[in-house]
Symmetry: C2
Subunit: 208 residues, 2 copies
DNA sequence: GTCTATATAGGGATAGAC
DNA sequence: GTCTATCCCTATATAGAC
């Protein structure tokens, strides 16, 4: 593993564990047993490391968001789709811990992060539309936008909320499933009765 | 107005405008045309100012959350109740911009902030229960918890989400109404048809 | 590529005079 | 209560040797 990659990897771990504002370039170098000077040979500054990490996150999540595979799925598929999004966010959760502060330092990051949110929103709308068309749920086209917005907010801030509730302690990765459940809750009331039961079944399987 | 209070007031303004991490004690002193030394005569450190501001926020929002006036209201009342909560949050929005970072520095703050979230959650449950009992909506007791959680998350992170979407620009206070709408959206699908219409009416009145 | 040593800057906070 | 002056610490970043 090349030093440059080790820096990225170590930084990601430390950021996720302690939060980006609490990790200095020296911390990163120490953790890797290299000198700060060496670190700055590979990256111009801390923000460049953050940006590189963002690019990895972007590639990873775009993989999911760009698929057109959101039609004709059953309840378990939808659950898993949301679950995968949560996992990608979990992998790069430090972004979501200090979103505004991190993004305001880098305009390019801002734009591209917002493009991800746009995509996520679109993906949610696609899911809702296709569920609507296959009569799994019934909603007025007018509702789709606001439900999608609520879904995006729940996805984006669930980890932050968890952290808030467990500050100090390490974030429990198991509670990801509860986040998925919260998102599915947003759809639940619109489901036809049979599919409501299907959702309950998936939920009890996953949250046990 | 005593200097101590002017410090609190000025700090609140600057924090809300620029974000707490971007405002130094020097900035605050400069803005007020006093010396940093003077500021430190009135407050031991920056965190003490933050804590005092929190106490003001706590008092202000507890005022709303502690009322037992959540029964037998009509749709407009519920709308206004959520709206008032949003206004209190708006007044102290800097907390919600960097929640985790601010709270992790002060254990007392953490505990008390979480107590506010508990109260907010309880208030939401009370609303849902009372709406349920007066047949405005129908939901299984089992749903109440997860809907309340979604309500709390939407209330807490709506401003953060807005900011994300408009970084750099000043936060548009008018969009508070859209936040209220997002929260009411969570309840909407459970409403009896007549009350759905009532909600739509309130919404169109307030979002125009 | 990697190290050591160091420059630089900014923010938090204090001492002591008025 | 308020000011000036200043200290200290920490984090970022660079220079130059190996």
């Amino acid at each position: 593993m090349k030093t440059r990659d080790r820096i990225l990897f170590t930084t990601l771990e430390l950021f996720n564990l302690c939060g980006e504002p609490n990790v200095t370039t020296i911390d990163i170098a120490n953790e890797m047993d290299i000198s700060p000077g060496n670190l700055y040979y590979h990256f111009r500054n801390k923000d460049e490391i953050i940006f590189e990490l963002f690019l990895l996150f972007e590639a990873s999540i775009s993989d999911v968001l760009d698929t057109q595979q959101t039609i004709d799925l059953d309840m378990l598929d939808y659950w898993m789709y949301i679950h995968i999004i949560f996992e990608k966010i979990w992998e790069y959760r430090f972004f979501y811990r200090d979103l505004v502060s991190i993004l305001e330092r880098n305009e390019k990051l801002q734009k591209r992060f917002n493009r991800i949110i746009d995509k996520k929103s679109q993906a949610c709308k696609n899911i809702l539309t296709s569920m609507n068309e296959s009569d799994i749920l019934t909603l007025r086209p007018h509702d789709i936008d606001s439900i999608a917005t609520n879904m995006v907010i729940s996805c984006s801030y669930w980890l932050n909320y968890l952290q808030l509730r467990h500050i100090g302690k390490e974030l429990p990765g198991e509670d990801l499933g509860r986040g998925v459940y919260q998102v599915m809750t947003l759809i639940a009331p619109y489901l036809q009765d049979e599919h409501k039961e299907a959702l309950e079944e998936v939920a009890t399987n996953y949250l046990s």
